[in-house]
Amino acid sequence: MAYNCVVLIKQVPDTKKITGKAMNDDGTVNRAALPAIFNPEDLNALEMALQIKQLHGGTVTAITMGLPAASDILRESLYRGADDAILITDAKCAASDTLATSYILSCAVKKLPFDIVLCGRQAIDGDTAQVGPQLAEKLAIPQITYVEQLTELAERTITVRRNIGSGWQKIRTKLPVLLTVTSDANEPGVAAAKKMMKYKNALTPIEIGQKVQAENPQADQLTHKALIDRKTKQLEEKGLLIKQWNLDFLQADLTWCGRDGSPTKVHRIQSVVLAAKESKNIEPTDAGITDMVHELIEDKIIA
């Protein structure tokens, strides 16, 4: 039987590339100085969904919540084989913590048919691993976190291997289910050239507006609107329109969204400056090293 897979993905700053320049003097991260990337373990989640589709048929829908520029990872998902891509973007989403984010995402997932919801284990900017389990709770479905292998999928039953830190478990459950997927689960494939050629022209409504504006800077508002409508229709016919949903469309209760919907708040951010209180330079000679060893023994650091 075929399965509907929904994959939640996130665009994140590449925290591995953080250098001095990427940090502001007040210790906050200068996101502009960092490349924005597809969260690595979300690629593993997408790959698992694509493998399910390849073996059993069905659909793969990628959803992200973020700034308009997050459409980049939706196009990337289409290159890799996703059937549909949805951008949730709204100023009222700003400052959402994991609880508010999971609520907004749950409103979106509930609009779709789904058998398996997949997320990466965690995102590299926050490393919280909380949105997956919170989303599962809001969808009232079981969750299996830290999935490192999809073992079997037959009828309405799924079997996976879950990493439990000090070993693993083999777990079976009935669909629907939410999985959070680790980097051990698979090697994400590369984007297909043919799909890239097709979907590089896929745009969100915001991007259509920007494009029309850039190409027709002199045109008046009415003309713009007509051009946008025509372009939107064209893209839709070719299957190149990336869906864009806001909180109104999701009929989300604003009490649970954004800053108001987020119980956790930031009290303080500090940049990490670590330094030893006292330090000594030791010459790399027999004498220098012997002295150091003696000092460590005298201080009872070495027994």
Binding site: Q143, G167, P284
Partner: protein
């Protein structure tokens, strides 16, 4: 939603496996006791399982004033839904102000599910907890005695202090290994409360077909001395130098993520944000550049020796003893100096 309750207790979710308390839960106890003392409230442990009554006494020895025991044959093994339901019900009944969990595979699976049901805040992987006051920038009401949930973010480049003041409880998972193990005090007395719980087969949607636990190849958390090698060691063969130095010191051999990724040594030996957090008396870093993610796992070491041929390596900012030079000649010199001293005494 649970209202702010200033008299609420401090709770520690006590993880157990086959009626053995997991170490990360015990690690939480001395810090949790301190928080409870500052707030002037009880510290309580919450234990779920089957035939686990004997564990209550132990948690009292580790600092609990009260222990809530939830026993049921369906709670024998951990499952997200059943455990989340029982703990959520207890939170609802007793309204604790703080609930702490170890940031283990189970803790990180369970806590967000409870937070979502309780619509409460949750901070993952804290490395420190304190009590403090907060004044929101847009209004001048000061919220007193909040839980400061302190954790690294952005790959360890910043330290964020997170709070929640308008919804209870304040919940956090705490990273393994960052807090010292308390000594049990066997004369401590406390109250044990047996809770009647309602769980049914419907709360167990998962079938655990197989479970394989394995012993880690090395116990870095318990090691008094650690010798860690980095990418600068050069090869798996050359990593023998790290093992040799570790052997002659009775130390545990460890590695940076780069060395593990290069296949020099098994992942069990990895120190840092994606490995183990350690706090030994002596940490000797050999050919470790000292990426912030590595520093996060070892900066609480009492003394740090760094050996690196690059004088600008970030590890030197942390080191008490800095040796700039070739590890291939320095390590044999160190081994010689240690052996000679040992013979003399």
């Amino acid at each position: 939603m649970i209202d702010v309750n200033r008299q609420g207790e401090v709770w520690v979710f006590t993880e157990q496996h086959n009626a053995n308390i997991e170490e990360p839960s015990i690690e939480l106890m001395s810090k949790a006791k301190h928080l409870a003392d500052v707030l002037g409230v009880n510290l309580s442990a919450v234990i779920l399982g089957d035939n686990i009554k004997s564990l209550a006494e132990k948690m009292i020895h580790y600092g609990a004033d009260k222990v809530y025991i939830a026993q049921h044959n369906l709670l024998a093994g951990y499952q997200t839904n059943s455990y989340a339901k029982v703990i959520y019900d207890l939170i609802h009944k007793y309204k604790p102000q703080i609930v702490l969990y170890g940031a283990t595979a189970a803790g990180r699976d369970l806590a967000p599910r409870i937070a979502s049901a309780a619509k409460a805040g949750l901070t993952a992987d804290c490395t420190d907890l304190q009590i403090g006051d907060h004044t929101p920038p847009n209004n001048k009401t000061t919220h007193k005695n909040l839980l400061f949930q302190i954790r690294p973010a952005f790959g360890g480049n910043i330290i964020a202090t997170i709070i929640n003041y308008d919804r209870w409880p304040q919940m956090a998972t705490v990273r393994e290994g960052v807090m010292p193990m308390p000594q049990p005090q066997t004369n401590r007395k406390g109250e044990i409360i047996e809770e009647k719980v309602s769980v049914s087969e419907n709360d167990l949607p998962l079938e655990i077909l197989e479970e394989h636990k394995r012993q880690k190849k090395v116990d870095l958390k318990a090691a008094r001395i650690i010798v860690a090698g980095g990418a600068g060691v050069g090869s798996r063969e050359n990593f023998k130098l790290v093992w040799d130095l570790a052997n002659c010191l009775g130390a545990a051999p460890a590695a940076s993520r780069a060395a593990v990724d290069l296949g020099f040594i098994d992942h069990d030996h990895q120190v840092g944000q994606t490995g183990t957090t350690v706090r030994p008396s002596l940490y000797i870093a050999v050919g470790v550049s000292g990426a912030i993610q590595h520093q996060a796992g070892m900066n609480q070491s009492q003394k740090i020796v760094a050996i690196n041929n690059d004088p600008d390596a970030p590890i030197f900012q942390l080191a008490h003893y800095k040796i700039v030079g070739d590890l291939n000649t320095i390590i044999p010199k160190m081994i010689k100096a240690i052996r000679e001293k040992a013979i003399k005494e």
